[in-house]
């Protein structure tokens, strides 16, 4: 008879991040690696823009293909709840990832993998405050994105001092100019928290360098990029808030494969972050980051 | 000559008695930026008369009639329609005052069908409100019939105007203005692109329209055409009125000479064997 591990298993992963987004690329890499190791058939889908309506449609489209399991990120539990619940009603096990445990419960997911953005924001804020920061800017490359707004507000809470949001673009040139402008317009700023390591974090470090403020203005970022890790390693940036996106892609696929083959499932949600990456471990992580694992 | 009768789609308008002034303008000026196109022009159009507007290229004829038909607002000057001061805020106002115009550039949409162009802005509708619609079958028939009257057998009234020949296009514009002409019909060089047959049709039309009691302003460079149908003649030159004559006060030769270069043409005509 066929052994359980030979049973073909199809898993669909719906992710809200654009295909070219480096952060989500790491999630996808984790998921793909897991699929290879577990011998599952994995397809990953994402909407063209941060579009919850479109994402709900993608989840519905996934449901129609009756996969053995569905993984989805949940930037908006209300907008996606209906589609996710329909998948569950069709008997498809759903794991939510890259979202907070509360969200996972709300949509009735089997398990949730991820971090709570507010919590992560608070952690970052505290760390910044401990470094002596009083006035911060929160560099947001996608104003209006709920998760990013939560990071900023969590940060403000944990930070304690004043914190303003700086809206920027995905373009590093424009972003650098805007950060430079913000620093020159308000010399009291001593901390910069970026919500994206490539666009926000690396450019913030450059801007600070150009203005000769290295050491006076602390830069930190959510998530990782090889360049930013290098900055941490050489001391021009303070830390990065890591939620280990590789795990957010890897674990759900493994769990769903195990569930499909053996009916196994862990007892509770997985907190993949936040953890702070500081100078001590940045160098180690940098190489892995270049391979899209960290 | 039955088929040549005019069709007034509008409810029969009350035409003022023959000879009463329909349009009077006095010392009208029009400037475009720093260009002075009309430097003070006056004229009077009476009901039941054809006024020929003559003049060299760039004299300001088209600018003048665009002012009369609401396209341009005069920079200064007096403008009366049936004795009352007129303030047209657009061509629609002029149309509503009963002034129909064939513009020199024809005012047609190349991508639209002949029928749609014919009825553009004045589509006959039927049905009650939310279901009010244009009776295109009727429109097509009218277009076909009116075009045929002017001597053009359009292959297909659904053909785009952009695919018509220059003369065919001119005929659509004329047929349209005549069909909708209410009190005043203005024709800016209507015969310029027309064949012999179509030209004679248009001149006949003008004659009939006059007979029906409308006033007609007819712009042409062809003195023969002007003299064939005109009752009065106004000559413009470099944005000013050069003079105005009734038919009996002038002659074809005199008009020809008046229009700048008339003499030259005569000499050329002689040079080339007297045929111009």
């Amino acid at each position: 008879g066929a052994r359980a591990e030979d049973k073909p298993v199809t898993i669909i992963f719906v992710d809200h991040g654009q295909a070219a987004d480096p952060f989500h690329n790491v999630i996808k890499k984790g998921a793909n690696d897991a699929a290879k190791q577990m011998h599952v058939d994995l397809t990953i889908r994402q909407p063209d823009t941060f579009d919850m309506t479109q994402m709900a449609n993608l989840i519905t489209a996934a449901t129609n293909q009756h996969p053995a399991g569905l993984v989805t990120t949940v930037p908006d539990a209300d907008a996606l709840g209906g589609a996710i619940r329909r998948a569950e009603a069709s008997g498809i096990p759903v794991i939510t990832t890259n979202s907070s445990p509360a969200t996972g419960h709300k949509v009735g997911a089997l398990i949730n993998v991820g971090q709570d953005e507010e919590t992560a924001g608070r952690a970052a804020g505290k760390a910044m405050a401990e470094a002596g920061g009083k006035h911060a800017i929160c560099v947001n490359q996608e104003v209006g994105n709920v998760a990013l707004e939560q990071r900023c507000s969590g940060f403000a809470e944990g930070f304690g001092g004043s914190s303003k949001t700086l809206p920027v673009e995905m373009d590093p040139g424009v972003t650098k100019s805007k950060i430079t402008a913000a620093l020159r317009a308000d010399p009291s700023i001593d901390s910069i928290i970026a919500l994206n390591a490539t666009v926000g974090g690396e450019t913030a470090v450059q801007a600070v360098k150009d203005l000769g403020l290295t050491g006076k203005v602390h830069v930190a970022s959510f998530d990782l990029s090889p360049g930013f890790l290098k900055d941490i390693a050489d001391g021009s940036a303070a830390f990065a808030v890591d939620q280990q996106p590789y795990l957010q892609g890897y674990l759900p696929v493994v769990f769903l494969a195990l569930k499909a083959r053996y009916g196994l499932k862990p007892g509770g949600d997985i907190a993949s972050g936040p953890s702070l990456i500081t100078r001590a471990d940045a160098a180690k992580v940098e190489k892995l980051s270049a391979e899209a694992i960290r | 000559m039955d088929g040549m009768m005019m069709h007034h789609h509008q409810s029969p308008t009350e035409l003022p008695p023959r000879g009463t002034p329909l349009i009077e303008i006095n010392d009208v000026r029009k400037e475009f930026g720093h260009v002075i196109a009309l430097a003070g022009v006056s004229l009077t159009l009476n009901a039941g008369e054809v006024l020929c507007l003559l003049g060299d290229n760039g004299a300001g004829k088209s600018t003048l009639i665009k002012t009369l038909s609401g396209v341009h607002r005069p920079t200064s000057g007096r403008f009366l329609v049936e004795g009352r001061p007129a303030q047209f805020s657009g061509p629609r106002d002029a149309l509503e005052a009963g002034i129909a115009t064939v513009f020199q550039d024809l005012a047609m949409i190349p991508l639209m069908s002949v029928t749609r162009n014919f009825f553009m802005g004045r589509e006959p509708v039927r049905g009650v409100f939310p279901f009010r619609r244009v009776d295109f079958a009727h429109c097509r028939d009218v277009t076909h019939a009116e075009m045929r009257k002017i001597g053009i057998d359009v292959r297909d009234p659904d053909q785009a105007v952009g695919t018509l020949s220059g003369g065919e296009r001119q005929c659509v514009a004329i047929a349209r203005a005549v069909y909708f002409g209410a009190k005043v019909l203005i024709l800016d060089e209507p015969t310029s692109a027309l064949g012999v047959a179509q030209t004679s049709m248009v001149l006949k039309y003008i004659d009939h329209v006059r007979a029906a009691g409308l006033g007609v302003i007819f712009i042409t460079h062809n003195v023969r055409h002007a003299f064939a149908v005109g009752d009065a003649f106004t000559v413009l030159n470099r944005g000013r009125t050069l003079g105005a004559w009734r038919k009996h006060e002038t002659s074809m030769d005199e008009l020809q000479t008046l229009m700048a270069g008339g003499k030259e043409l005569q000499s050329l005509s002689a040079e080339l064997g007297g045929t111009v």
Binding site: T60, A61, S90 | I109, L111, R133, V134, F136, D158
Partner: protein, 382 residues
């Protein structure tokens, strides 16, 4: 861009009434198929055929199940409602880039009326549509008064409305960019089924009960019905087609876009027509906002992003000219369906998601080229 290459007119779509009796010797005989294909609307079918054929080969069979089709049609319809309005506006010679932001802004207005002020659903909907209409009228008046290109005026509103949505949402929710509670607030309204859920669900329930369509394990039909957005989409298409081809307003729209000077000189009230079209496009965006907000139960500040762009894409795929004066609502219908099918359909295939955009681009290009070549071949245009 060359009008000269178009020998068909919008009326090709109307049944010929001229008697065939007096045939002109200067016309070649053409078959019924040619006659049919000369209808600009039907040209766009060619692209759809290519797209469907592609997916028939590459996609999982579930795409062509009833359920799969609905999942393709629903987003196509949401886009399509805006694309229909955008196509009318493009035919009228203008653009509206603010409709994407209008979706977010209308969602905010709707939320304030329904959730914050607890107004009944019909009032909230009417209020939202009126507010959107007013902004559309403002757009139109600005374009007409300043005589600036509508591109730049509505672009300003793209930013302004997006910004106001963000600010407004933060004020209303006390700091969040996401607003919830629509489902509860509208739950017991009688007119809710007109704007949310699926139409004909009774029928589908019956069909599922009798095993004609698939059911879920819990006994409910797998396809709950036809998403209400699809119904609106079809109604919009039919209405816009009727207006364009049969009414006086339709003629005015074509004329205004074809040559606004010539139209004005012929007595078409160009300014009123254009203002009306701006109002219509804003209202269509607001309707999409209402439909999606009630569906999702929430709204956020990023709703509708890029939709202005996609609506123009759908209209152009469907044969609208960017320069105005030419196009059709049915074309925009097929354009939206093609765009929707390609972008959702790829999820039913096995292609790596990194390649999606490459496929999307290639499919669009092939579909549009096919539209064009088919029509040209059939009509003998060169």
């Amino acid at each position: 861009m060359t009008p000269g290459t178009i020998d068909r007119t919008i009326d090709a779509a109307m049944p010929a009434t001229a008697p065939a009796a007096d045939r002109d010797e200067r016309l070649r005989q053409t078959g019924a198929f040619t006659q049919l294909m000369r209808r600009p609307e039907l040209g766009a079918i060619g692209g759809l055929i290519v797209v469907v054929a592609f997916f028939a080969v590459t996609a999982s069979a579930s795409m062509f199940s009833l359920d799969g089709l609905m999942s393709v049609l629903n987003p196509a319809a949401q886009l399509g409602i805006m694309a229909i309005a955008a196509s009318l506006l493009m035919i009228g010679g203008e653009f509206d880039l603010s409709i994407g932001s209008m979706v977010a802004f209308a969602g905010l207005v709707f939320g304030v009326l329904l959730v914050s002020w607890h107004l009944p659903l019909p009032v909230a909907i009417a209020g939202t549509l009126v507010a959107a209409g007013l902004i559309g009228a403002l757009n139109g008046q600005l374009v007409i008064r300043t005589r600036l290109p509508s591109f730049i005026v509505t672009l300003a509103f793209l930013f302004i409305l997006r910004g106001l949505s963000l600010v407004g949402l933060k004020i209303v929710t006390g700091g969040s960019t996401q607003m919830r509670g629509f489902t509860d607030a509208s739950a017991d309204s009688l007119i809710r089924p007109l704007f949310s859920g699926s139409a004909f669900s009774g029928l589908f329930g019956w069909l599922a009960h009798h095993g004609i369509v698939a059911s879920l394990p819990d006994g409910s039909p797998a396809t709950q019905g036809i998403p209400i957005a699809v119904v609106w989409f079809v109604v919009f298409t039919a209405l816009a087609t009727w207006v364009l081809l049969r009414t006086r307003l339709g003629n005015w729209i074509f004329a205004s876009g074809g040559d606004s000077n010539a139209a004005r000189n012929s007595g078409v009230p160009v300014d009123r027509v254009k203002t009306g079209l701006f109002v219509f496009s804003s209202v269509a965006a607001a309707l999409v906002a209402i439909l999606t907000v009630l569906d999702a139960g929430s709204t956020d500040a990023m709703r509708g992003q890029q939709k202005e762009f996609q609506a123009v894409i759908a209209a152009v795929i469907g044969g609208c000219l960017l320069t105005g004066g030419y196009g059709s609502a049915v074309g925009a219908f097929f354009g939206s369906v093609i765009f929707g099918t390609v972008s959702i359909g790829l999820t039913y295939t096995q292609f790596d998601s990194d390649w999606f955009q490459v496929f999307l681009g290639a499919m669009l290009l092939i579909a549009v080229i096919f539209n064009n070549q088919l029509r040209r071949k059939v009509t003998g245009e060169r």
